[in-house]
């Protein structure tokens, strides 16, 4: 595992997402209200890019005919067949224990720390003035 700088925090404001490539792997990075999460950009069903999916909330019910919408912006739906994935965990809603999108650890690091290494910044130039999104792959 190695840590990779994939964006500045300013580039990825809350509610946004970004597709990056790290070690040849497509990874979707999401900002949920200031918290960052990274999922493989490949639906475990048939491989569609989750980063292109619709981001929604979680719909649950207390009983037939009732609807409750919670956790707005925290669920991504696969663009091909609509399967729902929890952006925080990568778990599918339908079969969370068996069907999940691989998750990668993400952290925010200040440029002052990054310039000392051992981070890899292949595509993002690092300066001491900014904070960065770092994915461990």
């Amino acid at each position: 595992m190695s840590k990779h700088v994939v964006a500045t925090v300013a580039d990825l404001p809350p509610g946004s997402r970004k597709l990056v490539t790290v070690k040849g792997r497509p990874i979707a990075v999401f900002n949920l209200g200031g918290e960052f999460f990274a999922l493989i950009n490949r639906c475990p069903h048939q491989g569609a890019g989750l980063c292109e999916g619709e981001v929604t909330g979680l719909v649950t019910a207390d009983g037939p005919g009732t609807y409750r919408l919670t956790r707005p912006g925290e669920i991504v739906r696969c663009p091909w067949h609509g399967w729902e994935f929890d952006i925080r965990t990568g778990q599918s809603w339908c079969e969370p224990s068996r069907i999940k999108a691989k998750q990668y650890p993400v952290e925010v690091a200040p440029g002052t720390a990054l310039v000392k290494g051992p981070y890899v910044a292949e595509t993002v130039g690092v300066t001491v003035e900014q904070d960065y999104v770092v994915v461990e792959v």
Partner: protein, 357 residues
């Protein structure tokens, strides 16, 4: 007697109603008078014309009278011949489909009292389903409440195609009453024929009508699951009668696949539909609808994903199997026979357990 089936519980046999005159003693003065004045008698279901091939296996066809109407013949052919321990009478007659709610209720009540007095009381092996007028759910509930205390009634009977899909809230009082009394609801092949029995129009021939039966069952299962009936009535059990079996695996697979993508529309469906159906739904085994090949039957059973689903039945006197084949579908694994002939029926029908205790 067939050694294979000795002691089995037959979950689907059909005593025949000779005609409306048979039922008049079980009706009030108004209905007796009304039927006589109108000269109305022929209330057989359009799904089973007395002369149609499916209505009676040739060697079971009586010399006179309608199939299933002669009790001695029924007991000899359907019970003695198979060594049946108990058999559940599912009476198919016009009360369940009459356009008039009140006439339908009068016929259903008369059938229930007739079957109790003239069948259940005369052979201790017989049990019956309560026939109810689904045309009027409130009257259906009244009938269930009237008879639920008689423990020889072990089920409630409905036709596969009614006036609405069974998941609609219009029918929920029936599900509530069924759950309250621990009565499974049997949904039997057949239609009220308020509209075409296929989603594309009216079929012209027996071939189409017989083969397309499973569509109605698929629709009702999807309706019950997607409208949340099993979420609201977690102890409700549904038994599909004369539904066929081998269509189910593909249907289950597609229902799960599709649910994964659109489940947020029905968030009360919190588990894959196949799991819900395996928990709540049972099917009788005639017809089974597969080639007589143990390998193929085994694959179907594997794909069903549960050994709890199937219930032994002859569907007497309907013509589903030949005498030389026997009532168990050819190729059915012997190791599962006791399960489907005894254990599953007892688990499905709590009232049968009482009679054996």
């Amino acid at each position: 007697m067939n050694a294979f089936t000795r002691g089995a519980i037959d979950c689907d046999i059909h005593p025949g109603v000779p005609g409306i005159r048979t039922l008049l003693p079980y009706m009030n003065n108004y209905w007796k008078d009304a039927f006589i004045r109108r000269g109305a008698d022929d209330f057989d279901l359009a799904s089973y014309p007395p002369g149609a091939p499916i209505t009676c296996r040739p060697d079971w066809r009586p010399e006179k009278g309608k199939p299933g109407t002669d009790m001695a013949l029924l007991c000899a052919q359907a019970l003695d011949a198979f060594g049946t321990r108990h058999a559940i009478c599912n009476t198919l007659y016009g009360g369940q489909v009459a356009v008039s709610e009140t006439m339908g209720a009068a016929i259903c009540s008369a059938i229930n009292d007739w079957i109790a007095a003239e069948w259940l009381s005369r052979d201790a092996r017989l049990r019956a389903s309560i026939v109810v007028p689904a045309q009027a759910p409130h009257l259906a509930v009244e009938e269930i409440e009237r008879l639920a205390g008689d423990r020889r009634f072990v089920q409630i009977l409905l036709p596969a195609a009614a006036e609405l899909l069974y998941g609609k809230s219009y029918y929920w009082p029936i599900w509530a009453a069924a759950e309250k009394h621990g009565l499974p609801v049997g949904i039997h092949a057949g239609s009220m024929f308020r509209y075409a029995p296929t989603s594309n129009g009216w079929p012209s021939h027996y071939l189409h009508d017989y083969v397309s039966q499973s569509q109605a069952f698929e629709d009702q299962l999807l309706s019950l699951v997607s409208e949340g009936v099993f979420a609201r009535f977690p102890n409700l059990r549904i038994v599909l009668l004369e539904s066929g079996v081998s269509w189910l695996p593909g249907f289950l697979w597609r229902s799960v696949k599709t649910w994964r993508g659109v489940r947020s529309e029905v968030p009360w469906v919190t588990r894959p539909p196949a799991e819900i159906i395996r928990d709540h739904v049972r099917l009788t085994m005639q017809p089974f609808d597969s080639p007589p090949d143990p390998a193929i039957v085994g694959q179907v059973l594997d794909q069903l994903g549960s050994e709890e689903l199937l219930l032994f039945a002859t569907d007497y006197p309907h013509w589903q199997f030949e005498p030389e084949e026997g009532a168990v579908p050819p190729g059915f694994p012997p190791a599962l026979l006791r399960k489907v002939m005894v254990e599953n029926p007892l688990a499905t029908y709590p009232r049968l357990q009482e009679s054996l205790a």
